[in-house]
Symmetry: C2
Subunit: 130 residues, 2 copies
Amino acid sequence: MNISEVSKKYNIPIDTLRYYEKEGLLPPVRRTESGLRDYSEQDCGWVEFIKCMRGAGLSIDTLRQYITLYGKGNRTLQKRKNLLVSERDKLKARIDEMQKTLQRLNYKIKVYEERIVACEKELLRKRKSK
Amino acid sequence: MNISEVSKKYNIPIDTLRYYEKEGLLPPVRRTESGLRDYSEQDCGWVEFIKCMRGAGLSIDTLRQYITLYGKGNRTLQKRKNLLVSERDKLKARIDEMQKTLQRLNYKIKVYEERIVACEKELLRKRKSK
DNA sequence: CTAAACCCTGGAGTTGGCTTTAAGTCAAGC
DNA sequence: GCTTGACTTAAAGCCAACTCCAGGGTTTAG
């Protein structure tokens, strides 16, 4: 799979794919003889994983650490788990905060709706009294 | 209330408070004769609101638009509500995405735990067979 | 009265995460 | 054989959102 196919499949710009690789977010992708990237199934898996994690706000640096540990094999299992747990906890905290803000926005919107209705009634009243 | 008190109260750096004001995220704060900022209750309310909304990912630009509309009075009620609804919807979408990623992380962590247990058993087996 | 601590402004610098550019290689279609 | 379009690299550029700095005025404790 060449870079533009991967780009289309996951809807990630080509430049971003190269950037992620340069930054060590995925293991160096195999090349054809002429030097073109040829993504394996596993590479695609990483790309999808990165996209998902970036979407949830994990930093480039954190993901680089994770894949670096992954590259060192089984003896980093515990460290990788710890990293995931720590990111999971942070993510959970972010979600909780955002949930509260969501509710606050919903409440604000409700108040706006009431005020808008009140405004319209007021207009109607004025028009009648003319 | 002077700027460092507000900074401490909401845990926002002084520079950031000034930056927000410069960017039009809150109405110009009243000054003492000598030119020092003196935050009113209402100013504090805005600061808290901004902190909350920024924490949920609303952009500086969006918040500037909101307060600009607010400054124009009642005739912008509908526009302000529309803006809030649009941001609410985006926030909800972000939360949903992050929820999915949270579950994925939880699953991954579970798998890691099992693998770690398996690894430990393996070690124990080796030690016994010596 | 003065030193230390605090506040002011305008503008420059930093950070994270891309995104574009320049200059070149390579493969396929006409 | 030549053009077109996709790929390559390293490096520079860009954007949002801060963050820091220089140079100067103000407030307060001793």
